[in-house]
Symmetry: C2
Subunit: 391 residues, 2 copies
Amino acid sequence: MFDINQIRKDTPASQQLIHFNNAGASLNPSVVIQKVKDYLDLEAQIGGYEVERLHQNDIKAFYTEMARLIHAEPHNIAFATSCTDAYARALSSMPFKSGDVILTSDDDYASNQLCFLSLQNRVGVRVVRAKNFDNGDMDVADVERIIKTEHPSVVAITHIPTSSGKMQPVAEIGQLCRQYDVWYLVDACQSIGQMPIDVQSIGCDFLTATGRKFLRAPRGTGFLFVSDKALEAGFSPLYFDNHSGNWTGKDSYTMQASALRFELYERSLATVLGITEAVRYACAIGLDNIWAYNQDLAQYFRQELQNTEGVTLYDEGSQLCNIITFRMGHKPLEVIQSALNAARINHSVTMKKMAQIDFDRKGIDWALRFSPHYYNTKEEVDKVIEVLRAI
Amino acid sequence: MFDINQIRKDTPASQQLIHFNNAGASLNPSVVIQKVKDYLDLEAQIGGYEVERLHQNDIKAFYTEMARLIHAEPHNIAFATSCTDAYARALSSMPFKSGDVILTSDDDYASNQLCFLSLQNRVGVRVVRAKNFDNGDMDVADVERIIKTEHPSVVAITHIPTSSGKMQPVAEIGQLCRQYDVWYLVDACQSIGQMPIDVQSIGCDFLTATGRKFLRAPRGTGFLFVSDKALEAGFSPLYFDNHSGNWTGKDSYTMQASALRFELYERSLATVLGITEAVRYACAIGLDNIWAYNQDLAQYFRQELQNTEGVTLYDEGSQLCNIITFRMGHKPLEVIQSALNAARINHSVTMKKMAQIDFDRKGIDWALRFSPHYYNTKEEVDKVIEVLRAI
C-alpha cells in the first residue's frame, strides 16, 4: 500500500531536510536502523557467535526475502558488502585468460571499467564496448555483432549508469546472451529498490546490487545473484573461506552447492538483518507502486528543470529513470551547491572521472545529480526549483 | 591503566555470563557499540554520504589509530570487512603463475589453506608446508631450507593457529624472508588485541587481522597492513574500485599511492568508527598490560584443567597463548556442552575441518576451545572447572 504520509513518518529525516541523493545513499526507514541497533546490542549482551546461533532464522530470511525481491530462489543469493564486492566475486569466478573478450558499454560504472582494465593489464583480456546511438540508447544490434565476431567470455552491462539518467536494455541483451550462449553479468546497483527487478526476465547469470541506494538498507550491504546455470557450471570465486568451501583434507576441498560459495562467513550480521528489513519494507509498499510514483516524480522534476532558465539537462536515452543530471552553465558550481546546502537540499555532483566516456562525449567535466525516491514529493521538487531560480 | 573492575563495568555482559569465546567473537565494550549506533542514527538523520563528509576526521582516525596499534604509518593501513577479506585482497595482488610456490605451515588457518588450494587448482601454484618439531614448534630451519630450494613467491604464516594454543615464530621467519628477499604475509587474526603486535619486528610485507576477536570491535571489521616495500613494488589488488583507483580515460587508470588501493569505498562506516574506538579502548589499557594479564590467566586456566580428572589438553608448542584446547575423552561432547550452556559459559568447539592436518596428527576430530581475555577473571575459570568436575 502506498501511503506517502506514512512513508514520510517512517523516515523522520524527511521532515528536516530534502534528500535527493538516493543514488548516493538513501535515508533509511526507522525500522531498518532499529533492527541493526537491536542486533548490535544483542551481540554485546550475549556474544557474537552465540547470538548468531540463536538468530539463524533471521539470517536465513535475508536469502528468502532477497530471492522474493528479484524473482530468484534463496540458493541463488549470496550476501556481499557492496555491489563492487559482489562484482569482484563474480568476476573472480571467471577463468579469464589472455585474449578473452569482455563485452561492455561506454556507460558501465567506473569501478567496473577499472576491474575490466585491471584484467586487461594483468591477464591480457580485451575490453570491447558496444556502440550507443546518438540519442544515448545502446545499439543492441552492435552487441549482437560483437557477440558474433568477438565471442566474448562475458557480457557485462550496468543496468543504470551513474551519470546519465538512462536505463540500458538489459532484457534484450539477455535474450542475445541466451541465444548465443554467452555468460551475462548485470550490475543492478542503481536499479534495485527503484523499480521491479526480475532476474528471470533479464536472463542474467550474475546480478550484483548494493543496499544503501534505492533499497534504503544500511551501508556496507549488497548481494550477488548467481543463476542455476552458472552454479551448475561450477563457477566459484577465486578466494573463499571455510563458509563458502570445506577443507576436507590436507590438499582437498569442496565448495557449497549454492551461491553461498560466493560469500565469506564474517560480516556484520546486524547489517544483514538491516538489509532484510529494508527489502521487507520495500515489498510491503510494492515495487510496482514505488516505480509508478518514481516515474511520475522524475518526469515532474525534469519538466520543472526544463522550465528553469539556464538549466541544461544531460539525461539521454529513451528509457529514463530517477537519476537526473543537469548543469546551470552560467553559474559556478560552488554558488549552486552553497545555495542548495543552505536550504538543506541533499544532492550530489558527478565528476568526469566517474563517467569518462559519457562526459567526454557530452563535453562536460561535472553534472549536478538529483535522485528522487518514493519518499520525496513534488513540493520538495518545487523547493529545489525555487532555490535554483533564485541563484 | 589496568583496572579489572572498570573493565568489567565497561562490559555489562560480563556480569550476566562467562564469555570464554574471544577467539570466536568477543564481547564489545559499551563505548564501541554506542559509537556504531550513534553513527547509524546520524546516517538516517542526515544521509549516508552527507554524514561521511562531516565525519572525515573520525574516518581518518581509523588509519592513525590502527597504525599506532601495530607500529606502522597510516598510509600502510587499509580497511577490510574481515581477516579473510584482507587476506584475499593481499593474495590477489600477487601475480601468481603456474609453478610458483606458496610456503606455509601445517597450522595455517583453514580459510587460508582453502585460498592456497584454490590457487593450486586454478593457477597451478604449489603449496609447500614447513615441518613442525614433535613438540609442535615450527622448524624454522626447514623454512630456510624450503626458501633456499623452492624459492617461494610468498611465505604465508598464521601467527596463532585456530586450534592448538601455540604461537608461531613470526619474527624469526620474518628475518629469513628479509635475508632471502621473499614476500611475507602474516595472518594476525587471533593475535591482534590479545598481545602487542609490531609489524616492524615481525618484518612482514602484508599483515591481516579481524576486529571481532581479541580486539573487541564490531563484526564485519578488519584491516590489512601493506609495507612500504610492497607498495613501492606496485602490489595492487586484482579487483578494485574508484576509491582504490582512478579512471583517468577510456582505457587508462591510476592507483592510490597508499594502502587505500587495497580497500573498497563502500563499507559500513559505523563499524569503521566502532573498530577505531575498540583500538582506542585497547590502547588506553595498554597492550602490554593486556598481554601480561592474559598470560597469567591462561596459565592458571591450563593448570586448573590439568588438575581436572579426565581432561586432556591439546595445546602444544613452547610459546602458548590464550587459546586453550582440550577434551574430556570419557564424556560425550553434548553432555559437556549442555552443562556449560546451563551455567551460561560461552565457549566453542573446534571441528576437524578447521584443522585438518593438526587434528589428523593428534588423532582427534574435535576439541573444546576456551579463549579467555583480559575482562575474564580467575573466579570465572574456577566456575568452569567446577562445572567440568561436576559432569
